[in-house]
Symmetry: C2
Subunit: 210 residues, 2 copies
DNA sequence: ATGCTTACTGCACATTTGTACAATAATGGG
DNA sequence: CCCATTATTGTACAAATGTGCAGTAAGCAT
């Protein structure tokens, strides 16, 4: 009975790549970037460590892929509610705040992964590119909300002011995300959300009509 | 003439420790944490690599020391103006904003160092301790300003509200510091400061009297 | 079934890492 | 001036890391 117990499963390159990427992120979240060696990652994924180099030209390539994957997932989880037209503006804003400042976005493991990658950004053009796309994507998703808010208050949406408010709101969320991820005991989710709503509506002005 | 050219200079342990710490920070800023090996650091400091273990029990100890040193320096540069009584409240706030969002605090190299250490925080009790002290130190320095601001507006300084405003202002500064350090071309210093003043005075309320 | 493609394994290798330790020499106190 | 102290060097070493490569076997096409 030769085929009774296959020694390994043969996956499509796409699936395997995703498996390896997710294993990488789990390892980084659990033990930090320095522990994310090819051997540790492949063990986490349950494959031979030499398989990594079959799907990625180099370990760095795996890191790029993992970074892009992680950032895209975070941005998506954070901003899903922004474009959900049909809900009142204020609801959408509050939902984005909540999604951004709750797990799994605001989370020690996610911060862990993010911080590990951040230190590559200044030294690496590809990382910098990925970061800029993510940052601008976030801000671009925020601006329509600001413009709507201006309209709701019957005020003109001057581009300079809209940009300023977008940067400010982004900063509030970034800062709270940071501290909330780092010190969850000191800054529980609900408090983070309360502070964010307070600050963001102070910046945007009152939005009571819809 | 045997003594004409000494092979090395003998320093006091305190001075040498500081030299090694600063060399560590320079290496991390220039090449990232993974490049901060004992050999690289000692080369930067101009000493034999085995000297590190004479002044620090382990490489980890050097890292702790470097982290504490870096954070203390940043906090000091950021908050020097906060306690400078004799200047009007609004001036002090604006000076803190400027100091926080200008080099050398808001700066790619400083972020680099910070991010490198941050990823150690969740895995390491001593790192977490250092981070918490720094964070609380910052907030504690901010709260008196908020209380003064409440008083200037003839409003009671309810502890819960003061804490909320302190967290919010901290978040604004953290977030802008982050993005300004990472993307200096996109967010130049003066724009960062303008956004911060806008957001923080929106949170605190108008402070026109002193 | 059979064969072909290629996903996958296993092992070896050079390099780099933190650490250990004995030898050396700078410097202050006598 | 000389000696004791100890800051500093030089070398050695085991462990770990990314990469290279030959061979194996899973699974689809025919």
């Amino acid at each position: 009975m030769p085929d009774s117990k296959p020694k390994f499963r043969r996956e499509s390159p796409e699936q395997r790549r995703v498996q390896l990427i997710e294993a990488t992120l789990r390892v980084i979240a659990r033990k930090g970037v320095s522990a994310a060696t090819v051997r540790e990652i492949s063990a986490e994924a349950g494959v031979a460590f030499s398989l990594i180099r079959h799907h990625f030209n180099t370990k760095e390539d795996l890191m790029y892929a993992a970074y892009a994957y992680h950032m895209r997932k975070m941005a998506q989880a954070s901003l899903a509610a922004a474009t959900d037209m049909g809900r009142p503006l204020k609801d959408r804003i509050r939902q984005c705040i909540r999604d951004t400042l709750s797990p799994p976005v605001t989370d020690g493991a996610a911060l862990q992964v993010w911080a590990g990658f951040i230190q590559m950004v200044p030294h690496d053009a590809r990382m910098k590119q990925i970061h800029m796309e993510t940052y601008l994507g976030f801000r671009d998703a925020l601006e329509p909300l600001i413009i709507e808010a201006q309209a709701a208050q019957k005020q003109p949406a001057e581009p300079a002011l809209v940009e300023q408010k977008a940067i400010a709101c982004n900063a509030v969320l970034d800062g709270l995300w940071l501290e909330g991820s780092m010190l969850p005991d000191m800054l529980p989710t609900e408090q983070l959300i309360a502070v964010a709503e307070f600050a963001i509506f102070a910046i945007l002005g009152p939005i009571d009509l819809d």
